[in-house]
């Protein structure tokens, strides 16, 4: 072949192809987007912040919810577990919990070995629903305590990040919620949560978890678990409310979050948490 048939023609061929191809894709996209705009009607009107929850007077931008769990006060009575199941219609089988209580036991023989903190004995009979039958002996040198757990309503939640469809999200007032109408039941969020607080509701086949009793807190009530806790081990807190006691509590107590290395931005603060808690 002569030179003018090969290299120059091929070069201009490719360039023209790319140019025309790009023009084509761009115009198609623009055209399609324009049609979509037209068909989707007028732009969504920005509704007043206080009507997003359907509760007049509750402005989502004025609240940032968190929770304080005081391990030094928890007596493992199970009131919170029962109340939550009652309030939120959680299936009663022992695999489904929006909140549960764990009992930690560091045996006496391990108390002198710091690494033993990695191997506590942890039990949670039916999540603590019927309390904890006595298994250990007080005063034998072992360390025993209860740890209530729930969704931590993380500010940088891994579960929200992995949802493929946008069915789980953090509300503007800091509560991580699940949109049951949108959830596919793919279970990616259940896998992603480092705290194990999510489960698949067997009845709706959608992801479910603690909603911080959103239907209660938007109406000025506290969560069911906090309402029934007899010792005040669980306290709901509104971090945006300057008068909320949570600010004083956080300033006067040494608190931790679960799994800080995961950088989840957890808003559930534990007072008196031991190193053995995982």
């Amino acid at each position: 072949m002569s030179p003018e048939e090969t290299t120059p023609n091929m070069m201009s061929d490719r360039r023209k192809f790319l140019k025309n191809g790009a023009r084509f894709v761009l115009l198609t996209f623009a055209g399609g987007a324009a049609v979509e705009r037209i068909l989707s009607g007028e732009p969504v009107v920005r509704v007043l912040a206080d009507s997003y929850t359907g509760t007049p007077g509750y402005d989502v931008s004025q609240h940032w919810w968190g929770m304080i769990i005081d391990i030094e006060k928890c007596i493992g009575c199970g009131n919170c577990v029962r109340a939550c199941k009652r309030e939120n219609d959680v299936p009663l089988e022992p695999f489904y919990f929006r909140t549960w209580v764990e009992r930690y036991h560091v045996p006496a023989k391990d108390m002198l070995h710091p690494e033993a903190e990695d191997h506590p004995e942890v039990d949670s009979p039916d999540g603590g629903y019927d309390g904890f039958p006595e298994r250990y002996h007080a005063g034998d040198g072992s360390k025993n305590f209860f740890v209530p757990k729930l969704c931590n309503h993380c500010a940088h939640s891994p579960c929200v990040q992995v949802c493929p469809v946008g069915a789980t999200f953090e509300s503007p007032d800091g509560v991580v919620l699940v949109d049951k109408k949108y959830c596919l039941g793919c279970r990616y969020c259940i896998q992603a949560c480092p705290y194990g607080c999510r489960f698949l509701d067997p009845r709706t086949r959608t992801a479910d978890k603690c909603t911080l009793c959103y239907h209660r807190i938007t109406k000025g009530l506290t969560t069911a678990c906090c309402e029934t806790c007899p010792t005040g081990a669980r306290k709901l807190g509104d971090l945006k409310d300057p008068k909320d006691p949570i600010h004083e509590f956080l300033a006067t107590h040494k608190v931790q979050v679960l799994k800080p290395q995961m950088a989840t931005g957890s808003k559930t603060y534990y007072n008196g948490m031991d190193a053995s808690v995982r």
């Binding site: 023609n9 009607g41 009652r86 939120n88 999200f169 949109d179 109406k219 506290t222 309402e227």
Partner: protein, 153 residues
């Protein structure tokens, strides 16, 4: 197209199909994605109202005290003052809404008190807890302790 792509017709056909597919996708998306998706974040804003619409089962202490102010008075100064009513009496929003329609049943004090006060190694040491046999020989708690004011003076 000048410049000589050979047999350009077959390419045009494919391009038209891809273009049509893209257009169709965008149009369908316009129909199927809810209008309130993306308003507050990558989720359907209407979900907030859906979730907040659930009726409450627990009334909350304030609701109880509206009518039962005598009990609220009796509990003042007692160790049980901070324990909310429904922690022992169960979920009673239905009763608070319409007192006549739902009559609460008294909790079973042979079991209720021990839920919190039975001796357990994992309970905080200064929390009042007893072994019922040792403490009262198995006699029920309310024979000495009034639930709303449990201190024996």
């Amino acid at each position: 197209m000048k410049g000589g792509i050979k047999d350009v017709e077959h390419f045009v056909r494919a391009a038209v199909l891809v273009g049509a597919g893209l257009c169709l996708f965008l149009v369908l998306r316009g129909f199927l994605v809810p209008k309130d998706f993306g308003v507050l974040g990558h989720y359907r804003a209407g979900a907030l109202a859906d979730i907040a619409a659930r009726p409450a089962s627990f009334a909350g202490r304030a609701a109880c005290e509206e009518c039962h102010s005598d009990v609220a008075e009796a509990r003042k100064g007692s160790k049980h003052e901070k324990v909310n009513c429904e922690a022992c009496h169960g979920a009673l929003a239905a009763h608070a809404q319409d007192p006549g329609s739902v009559t609460p049943t008294l909790p079973d004090t042979t079991k209720l008190c021990l839920t919190c006060h039975e001796k357990n190694a994992a309970r905080p040491v200064n929390f009042p807890q007893v072994d019922p046999q040792e403490h009262s020989g198995g006699e029920i708690c309310v024979s000495c302790h009034k639930p709303h004011h449990p201190e024996i003076e």
